[in-house]
């Protein structure tokens, strides 16, 4: 049976590390390796950064929710915001620009978040429904079931 917890912060950069640490604790329960935990933490932070910067245009006072689901063989993390939606095509069409040492104009300041997310988890989907935007990420894990101490 899937176990679910939902973690909510206000849209302020200082609150993101709380999400990070809570997700770390939950990933330990899921029996993930330190390397896998670091990847999931990074994917969540990138997704939350995007909700803050793009969906809420860096305005505080809004809610960002991370739902953590622990199921047999899989952890899923759903990042939700109630701000401006992303074009759902963006996930598929977003092209990563490879930086070229000879061309400083390719040394972009941004545009790496979605690429990082896609590389850190096994699947990513984006959905807009009833004013709520959800970026759903999931990653397989060993089938040993929850680990705790």
């Amino acid at each position: 049976m899937t176990q679910t917890i939902s973690l909510a912060i206000e849209s302020r950069p200082e609150c993101i590390e709380l999400l990070s640490c809570a997700v770390q604790g939950l990933c330990r329960l899921a029996g993930l390796s330190a390397a896998d935990i670091a990847k999931i933490e990074l994917a969540v932070v990138e997704a939350v950064n995007n909700a803050l910067e793009h969906a809420y245009r860096n305005q505080p006072g809004h809610l960002i929710v991370v739902e953590f689901q622990l199921a047999a063989g899989r952890v899923s993390l759903l990042v939700r915001d109630g701000g401006e939606a992303m074009d759902p095509q963006k996930l598929a069409t977003e092209e990563f620009v490879e930086p070229d040492p000879a061309s400083p104009e390719t040394w972009h300041m941004r545009g790496r978040g979605l690429t990082i997310i896609k590389s850190c988890v096994d699947s990513v989907e984006y959905q807009v429904r009833d004013g709520v935007n959800t970026l759903a990420m999931s990653r397989t894990r060993g089938d040993s079931g929850p680990q705790s101490d």
Binding site: P13, I16, V45, E46, W107, M109
Partner: protein, 111 residues
């Protein structure tokens, strides 16, 4: 995020410690650009104590790279731990940054 500055023969060495994430970016970017401004454009960033970095942290590194190059200088990233190294390789930034595991080699590169 804690930043510590040293200067060795005109080369600035800044050690960063902590998480380099969105909440720290304004402060860290300002501190590093001020160092570039004041110094000769030769900079080593020691990232040994940076346990976690996100893409906003990468954007700080890119701003610093652009700033030093404008002054005909360069920046060397020193002591990348595995998490940070894999982030930099994933985003292919190891192609544009000089990266060293050893301070003497980093200094030699900038002399």
């Amino acid at each position: 995020m804690i930043l510590t500055d040293r200067n060795v023969d005109g080369i600035d060495i800044v050690s960063l410690a902590g998480r380099l994430v969105m909440a720290d970016v304004p402060q860290v970017r300002q501190r590093l650009l001020a160092t570039v401004e004041r110094g000769g454009g030769k900079l080593i960033l020691d990232l040994r104590e940076v346990g976690f970095m996100d893409s906003s942290g990468l954007s700080v590194l890119v701003s610093v790279l652009k700033a030093v190059r404008l002054r005909n200088g360069d920046v060397v990233l020193l002591h990348l731990n595995p998490t940070v190294r894999s982030l930099i390789e994933l985003t292919r930034l190891h192609r544009v940054f000089a990266i060293c595991d050893d301070e003497a080699a980093a200094l030699a590169r900038l002399r």
